[in-house]
């Protein structure tokens, strides 16, 4: 027997975003600005990740979802809004999204949000997304620097909307969506009503490069910059603090071989390991 219980917040008030549009589909894309996405990041003296070293960029993991959003509105009409929370430099990430073709941006930047934990981040982003118009909210499956992968599910519940994670393909379907969701052993197909939040896996689309025209056009697209207080989020206390950082014991270097010996050495090792 199923028991039905209301959610923590009343559906009437929690879905404060202006949902729906007459024509086409509006998509809000979350995009994180991350430090040094291709190298090894580093920790500052306060044990927090250094986020303002000048080598940051839009998280490559968010570009797959942005590309999907652009394709959806190009096919059916509507607008794409980028939402990002980060240091002032994160504006560069929003601008890259605009240069790729998004229509407007919303940047939450606030020194008080440095070191924000997963819950604070989700609350702030929920308040920010609620200010945008959306039929669909798209995030990455996990961020390159934080890789918790939980923020999107928290966000969907705070917004009071349906969600499908690990999506590799999405199509509009009647009044909602039809999504292919990656699973451990293959994939599932889900249907979901509007509005829905999805997380998009790496490799799901092939993100475009911003064109010169796109980069020029981005300069005149609207970007709102707000603080946590502007969004009405005041409880910013983090529930997680770093107690200690230690270096893992380094692994002793192994044997390196080249040339004719190689095959014999590998086979010897397999024999030693008793696997052949």
């Amino acid at each position: 027997m199923a028991r039905t219980r209301p959610s923590v917040t009343d559906p009437g008030t929690r879905r404060s975003g202006k949902v729906g549009s007459i024509r086409g589909m509006n998509v809000t894309v979350l995009a994180k600005f991350v430090p040094n996405p291709t190298g090894t990041p580093s920790l500052g003296p306060d044990n927090l990740l250094i986020r303002d070293a000048g080598d940051g960029a839009l998280d490559p993991g968010d570009e797959y979802g942005l590309e999907l959003a652009l394709q959806l509105v190009e096919a059916g009409g509507g607008e794409v809004t980028i939402v990002s929370m980060g240091p002032a430099e994160a504006l560069a990430g929003v601008q890259r999204g605009l240069a790729m073709g998004a229509h407007k941006g919303l940047l939450v930047t606030d020194p008080a949000l440095r070191g924000a934990d997963a819950l604070v981040t989700a609350r702030v982003l929920a308040a920010a997304v609620a200010r945008t118009e959306y039929d669909l909210v798209i995030t990455g499956a996990e961020s390159t620097d934080g890789y918790t992968g939980t923020m999107p599910a928290t966000l969907a519940e705070l917004l009071g909307i349906a969600s499908v994670t690990a999506v590799r393909k999405l199509e509009p379907d009647n009044d909602g969506f039809r999504a292919e969701r990656q699973t451990e052993s293959g994939y599932d197909v889900l249907t979901s009503p509007k509005p829905t939040l999805i997380t998009v896996t790496a490799g799901a689309t092939e993100p475009r490069y911003p064109s010169l025209k796109g980069i020029m056009a981005a300069k005149s697209k609207p970007v709102d910059t707000v603080s946590a207080a502007d969004l009405g989020v005041t409880d910013l206390a983090s529930t997680q603090t770093v107690a200690a950082v230690t270096d893992a014991p380094a692994k002793a270097g192994g044997e390196i071989v080249t040339g004719d010996d190689a095959v014999t050495r590998i086979a010897d090792l397999l024999t030693e390991a008793k696997v052949i």
Partner: protein
């Protein structure tokens, strides 16, 4: 400390290995240990969960948990938490675990730590960053239960328990719109499961396309009991399905031997295989990072070495 709960992923085939790993850890924390098993197969898995340390198994076989993943389990857990007030909930770092934990956090307002590799108590857990080169101990605060998502294979599962009390629970279906599963498709390779195989032969971008994966299949077959894996670069390129992926976003493997061919050894790949007992890397670039963590590093062309190795393994097997 108060009770520790383990969110036990179950299918009609049994408990997910992560459930047994987490229960083994939960037993060491002091306090009562319960497992929460939601979905088809839950009641049948209860004895195994008990044998690994759960004294109570809250179980429901309701199909709704499989059809409306994530939210339904989180709302049911939230209701159970209200009844029994545990201190700590351990969840597996799988897609399902992440979705349940993320949604549950919105309902309870409690802290949620992801990617944990060890757990000391409800107020302290450990994670590793930068490909496992730095160990971070994290203090957790805020309302209980604290939520911790643990990386797969962080603890070896060991039996040590008894017959659990099974408490049937009803599904709590959340109000509002929910996504529903309408089709299921399997893509996994035949042969041994990647996470359970004794030997893993993995290929990366260095293979250059889907066809050369046949070379790895041949080597795996010659070894016997070996599974084929891949780096994300090979999966993203569409050469092999996601079920092959090893690493941070894919599977965590701890085989006796891991053979990496044409894989550079990026941090996110390494976290998924560094626990292998012996690592063999074949790479044509002497500076590839994978060679620094390999027990045996071969600098050379995989297209020459892999077929020759397959021959040699066959020869030794038949002599």
């Amino acid at each position: 400390m108060g009770a520790t709960w383990v969110y036990a992923e179950v299918t009609p085939d049994g408990a997910h290995p992560s459930a047994l790993e987490l229960l083994t850890k939960a037993r060491t924390l002091g306090g009562e240990v319960a497992a929460i098993a939601l979905g088809p197969g839950a009641t049948a898995a209860a004895p195994e969960l008990g044998a690994h340390g759960a004294t109570i198994v809250y179980a429901s076989d309701d199909q709704v948990f499989a059809d409306q993943p994530g939210r339904t389990a989180a709302h049911t857990l939230h209701w159970l938490i209200g009844q029994h007030t545990p201190s700590l909930i351990l969840l597996p770092g799988t897609y399902e675990g992440r979705d349940v934990a993320g949604c549950l956090q919105a309902l309870t307002g409690s802290t949620l730590m992801a990617n944990a590799t060890d757990v000391e108590s409800a107020s302290r857990a450990r994670t590793e960053i930068f490909g496992g080169t730095k160990i971070i101990d994290v203090d957790l605060a805020g309302p209980e239960p604290r939520l911790i998502l643990v990386r797969p294979k962080s603890f070896p599962p060991e039996p040590g328990g008894g017959t659990p009390e099974i408490v049937a629970v009803d599904a709590v279906t959340p109000s509002g719109p929910t996504a529903t599963v309408v089709e299921r498709h399997a893509e996994a390779a035949s042969g041994p499961k990647l996470e359970e195989a004794n030997v893993v032969v993995a290929g990366g971008r260095g293979l250059g396309g889907p066809e050369p994966f046949a070379l790895l299949d041949d080597l795996a077959a010659a070894i016997g009991g070996a599974a084929v894996g891949a780096s994300r670069a090979a999966v993203d390129a569409g050469w092999v399905p996601y079920a092959y992926q090893v690493g941070q976003t894919g599977k965590t493997v701890k085989p006796e031997v891991y053979i990496a061919a044409g894989i550079s050894g990026a941090l996110q790949h390494v976290v998924g295989m560094k626990g292998a007992k012996r690592i063999i890397a074949i790479n044509k670039d002497a500076d590839a990072p994978i060679l620094k963590i390999a027990d045996l590093g071969v600098v050379g062309d995989l297209f020459e070495i892999v077929p020759a190795l397959t021959e040699e393994v066959r020869r030794r097997a038949s002599s």
